[in-house]
Amino acid sequence: MSTRFTVNGVEREFGGDGDMPLLWYLRDHARLTGTKYGCGGGFCGACTVLVDGQPQRSCLLPVAALAGRAIRTIEGLGESGLHAVQRAWIEEDVAQCGYCQAGQILAAAALLERTPDPSPEDIDTIGNYCRCGTYVRIRRAIARAARERRST
């Protein structure tokens, strides 16, 4: 039995093993490799994607559970050009190794959808690991993106 869902607005159908986590579907099958593997246990957040707008750990989401869902990955975040969060990330020079950043950016974008003017405590709710320790600049970038979104 195949599962139908959308990824970045494109209809997808997967007829393989429904237990396969979305992460491996995206990477190995859809070749959307911006979503990263970090731990496979839902701890680190490197594999964060948006499912119906909510940040989810794709390493724990079996494809079979995604029927009818709309998935957005880092490749599809900026629908026309870069998203405000992506622009802020470049401006604040957040990335070091860059590996966790897709997950961080998607988590930040989802936060700003819920909370357009986040407090430091709101930002604290983002639990994605950055092994390089870019947290200070992540805070700055989220604040910058929030300002930009409010002013446009």
């Binding site: 093993d17 237990d19 396969m20 986590p21 491996w24 990477r27 190995d28 099958h29 070749r31 959307l32 490799t33 911006g34 979503t35 990263k36 593997y37 970090g38 731990c39 496979g40 246990g41 701890f43 680190c44 490197a46 990955t73 880092i74 490749e75 975040l77 900026g78 870069l82 992506q86 990330w89 470049i90 020079d93 990335a95 070091q96 190794c97 860059g98 590996y99 966790c100 950043q101 897709a102 950016i105 430091p120 930002i123 604290d124 709710t125 983002i126 639990g127 994605n128 690991y129 950055c130 092994r131 390089c132 320790g133 870019t134 947290y135 200070v136 600049r137 992540i138 805070r139």
Partner: protein, 750 residues
């Protein structure tokens, strides 16, 4: 198209030639003899080093392995500045590994390409400035010839040559003519400090647009045609082996192509190839491989270290420190100083094993063919990757092509190429192109861990509070464990650095080392032994100061004394400057307001240390509640890494290093039970999240005209002791055993 060559370093020369589109190509060649024959340039098998196109775009090859330390940005900046290019016109391209094997000894084509020991910037300072300067000299001569004026009359700026009368030409317009000129026979003059226009100014990560859109390529993103994915079930016991296994269920999993045994090193053999014996499952995709691995039935032998545990290692350290060990530095007479002392202070500290845990676990693509091999992956030592494949396949290194992707962190883990050897063994055994994937559990269970150790420090003070004697006794599990060609008497080398502070500053000074016996693999973890030793020494300095009624800053300054330089024979030398260390210490102390009155429950701690040529200090203000809850209120750090190359990158490295140091000191430990690692994922190896870390890390970059050091490792060693000193100042609890975890709560409850 060959013209002639100009020297860059003693053994390499730049060759200028014309590109197919009429631009200038500069690339190094290593043999003068090949040039002297005025033969056509050989096809360039290595990619481009520096290319200027007719439309004035400048392409600069990035030679270093990019692991997040920023060399893909900072090294090209150095070339671009000496070239006088406009940074906005520069496109950076990653170079593959390039070693020339045609001569009697292998030679780097582009210079060193590894990432370790904070050496990329100092190495680049020594040779890459000349690359840019040579290209700029060609542009000036080409413009001078066009205009009929002397080359010295031509000024360059932002990718243009300027005539004194105001005319200007782009480098692109001059590229073809420059390509026909013979490069200078001698090194050309480099810019003076005041002439830098790119060096010393903040530049953003060149790959940022690719990173934020998910297009940047990491090792895990390599999907080569026909490649199969392999995962390995490794023996979890140090030096254990396979007692028996059943792979029928694994082979029955849809998508599984092969199951092969991958033999590991025999007990006692050097750890130069793969790290542990295992069984590889090779499949069409990652999920099939993981499911196949899950279905394997294996029984392991527990090996010679089955009785090893963290508690037993602690006991072993206690027993060792009750005896006299190997004396590795002995200035004056510590025993006499101790006997004559007005006051003696001593303390013991414990540093746990920790794992590197780069967020991108080990992985790589290897295709072993009958007479050659291809290797692509996230490496810190691409030359080591080539050697690893050579070692397990016998294929000559010259026939092994190695490409580096970006690496999702390194921290020292990817200095070792055990995973490359493992992938090569699987490719060789199956005949398939293999993408080897390690899971997080694989990574945490099979690392070259940062050494564990117990430190005992003893200080002798005279009646005036001056430190007259100092000894640092360390029992540790040496990082050199099972390195080839290291003698037992040299195992202390990576554990205690004899010229570190306070050597030469205390007249009676002794360092003593004891070898801890352990079966756990060890290796280089970002800022290796500096993390352990700065924690012990900088914590102890506060203990000495407080025990003798002295101000911790004043004691440090008194010990440093007058500004002067000492020889420093270990990595990061050749000199250690007391004045530069004093400066970073004073800068953080002033910034945080050292000495000001603080509310109850708050305290400020300091620490300063010299790491691999760079000087760093931290000042941290902490708050501890009566129940032992810790809040880090303010963090200031300072670095003197010589001439700053990219201040934005330096700030990032110091912020990241600080957070690495704090996260590790607060929460992280690898423990051993029954001869294996207990931790298996981030739930039991919890890196700090954003909420647990300070909201800001203020970075002071000391302006300096000294030759630059690197900056990737300097931010870590002082973060933990500054925090622990701040905690003590806040609540009177001295944490001497890492990680901190819930020790504060327990101490304050008692």
């Amino acid at each position: 198209m060959s013209a002639a060559a100009a020297p860059v370093t003693r053994r390499s020369f730049l060759q200028a030639s014309l590109t197919a589109s009429g631009g200038l190509l500069l690339q190094p060649v290593l043999s003068r003899a090949a040039l002297a024959q005025d033969a056509p340039a050989p096809p360039n098998p290595f990619g481009l080093f520096l290319r200027i196109e007719r439309d004035n775009r400048v392409f600069i090859g990035a030679r270093g392995a990019e692991i997040g330390q920023g060399v893909k940005t900072s090294l090209p900046m150095i070339i671009a500045d000496e070239l006088d290019a406009a940074w906005a016109d520069v496109t950076v391209e990653q170079l593959p590994l390039a070693i020339d094997f045609s001569g009697p000894t292998p030679q780097w084509k582009y210079g060193p390409q590894g990432a370790g020991g904070s050496t990329s910037i100092p190495d680049a300072w020594a040779d890459l400035r000349q690359v840019g300067a040579q290209a700029r000299a060609l542009m000036r001569r080409a413009a001078a010839a066009r205009w009929g004026i002397a080359p010295d009359a031509v000024v360059t700026r932002d990718g243009h040559a300027l005539h004194p009368d105001g005319r200007r030409l782009t480098y692109g317009e001059l590229a073809a003519e420059a390509a026909a000129l013979p490069p200078a026979a001698e090194p050309v003059a480099l810019k003076s400090r005041g002439e830098y226009r790119i060096i010393g100014r903040p530049q953003r990560v060149v790959d940022a647009p690719e990173i934020v859109t998910g297009r940047a390529r990491y090792g895990i993103d390599v999907y080569e045609p026909g490649a199969c994915t392999a995962v390995v079930l490794r023996c979890p016991y140090f030096d254990g082996d396979i007692a028996g296994f059943d792979d029928r269920a694994a082979r029955a999993v849809a998508g599984v192509r092969a199951v092969v045994v991958v033999p590991g090193p025999k007990p006692g053999e050097p750890l130069t190839a793969n790290l542990a014996t295992g069984i590889a499952v090779v499949a069409d995709d990652t999920w099939s491989a993981l499911k196949g691995r899950e279905a394997l039935q294996v029984e392991w032998t527990r090996g010679p270290f089955a009785g090893e545990s963290s508690a037993a290692l602690d006991r072993q350290c206690g027993e060792l420190l009750a005896r006299t060990g190997q004396i590795v530095r002995d200035d004056g007479d510590f025993g006499a100083a101790r006997a004559a002392a007005a006051r003696v202070v001593s303390a013991r500290y414990r540093v746990p094993f920790v794992s590197h845990a780069p967020l991108e676990p080990e992985n790589c693509f290897v295709h072993v063919m009958p007479d050659r091999a291809r290797v692509i992956g996230p490496f810190q030592q691409p030359a080591g990757a080539q050697r690893a494949v050579n070692m397990v396949t016998g294929i000559p290194r010259a026939a092994i092509a190695v490409e580096m992707t970006r690496s999702g962190g390194g921290f020292g883990r990817k200095l070792t190429n055990d995973f490359v050897a493992e992938a090569a063994l699987i490719s060789k055994a199956t005949g398939l192109p293999i993408k080897l994937m390690w899971t997080r559990s694989d990574d945490l269970q099979h690392d070259f861990f940062r050494p564990f150790g117990h430190h005992e420090l003893v200080a002798a003070l005279d009646g005036a509070g001056a430190v007259t004697g100092w000894t640092h006794r360390l029992a540790s599990a040496s990082k050199y464990y099972r390195r080839p060609n290291v003698k037992a008497e040299d195992m202390w080398g990576p554990e205690l650095y004899p010229d570190d502070f306070p050597a030469r500053l205390v007249p009676n000074y002794r360092l003593e080392w004891h070898a801890v016996t352990s079966g756990i693999p060890r290796g280089s973890w970002r800022a290796p032994a500096h993390t352990a030793n700065a924690f012990a020494v900088q914590s102890f300095l506060d203990e000495v100061a407080l025990a003798s009624g002295q101000d911790p800053l004043a004691l440090r300054l008194a010990m440093l004394g007058a500004d002067r330089e000492f020889d420093y024979a270990q990595h990061g030398g050749p000199k250690f400057s007391t004045g530069r260390l004093r400066t970073v210490l004073e800068r953080v102390a002033a910034a945080i307001g050292w000495g000001r009155a603080l509310p109850k429950g708050r305290g400020i701690g300091l620490a300063a240390h010299f790491t691999f040529g760079g000087y760093a200090a931290h000042a941290i203000e902490a708050e501890v509640s009566p129940r032992g809850e810790l809040a880090i209120r303010r963090v200031v750090c300072a670095i003197d890494c010589g001439q700053p190359v990219n201040p934005l990158g330096i700030e990032a490295q110091m912020q990241g290093g600080t957070i690495d140091g704090l996260s590790t000191a607060l929460n992280l430990e690898i423990t051993i039970r029954d001869g294996r690692v207990e931790q298996a994922n981030f739930n039991d190896y919890p890196l700090a999240t954003l909420a647990q870390m300070p909201r800001d890390v203020e970075v002071i970059i000391v302006d300096s005209a000294e030759s630059p050091s690197g900056c990737g490792e300097m931010g870590i060693p002082t973060a933990a002791p500054a925090l622990l000193n701040a905690i003590h100042a806040a609540c009177g609890v001295r944490i001497r055993s890492l990680p901190v975890r819930d020790q504060l709560r327990q101490a304050l409850r008692a």
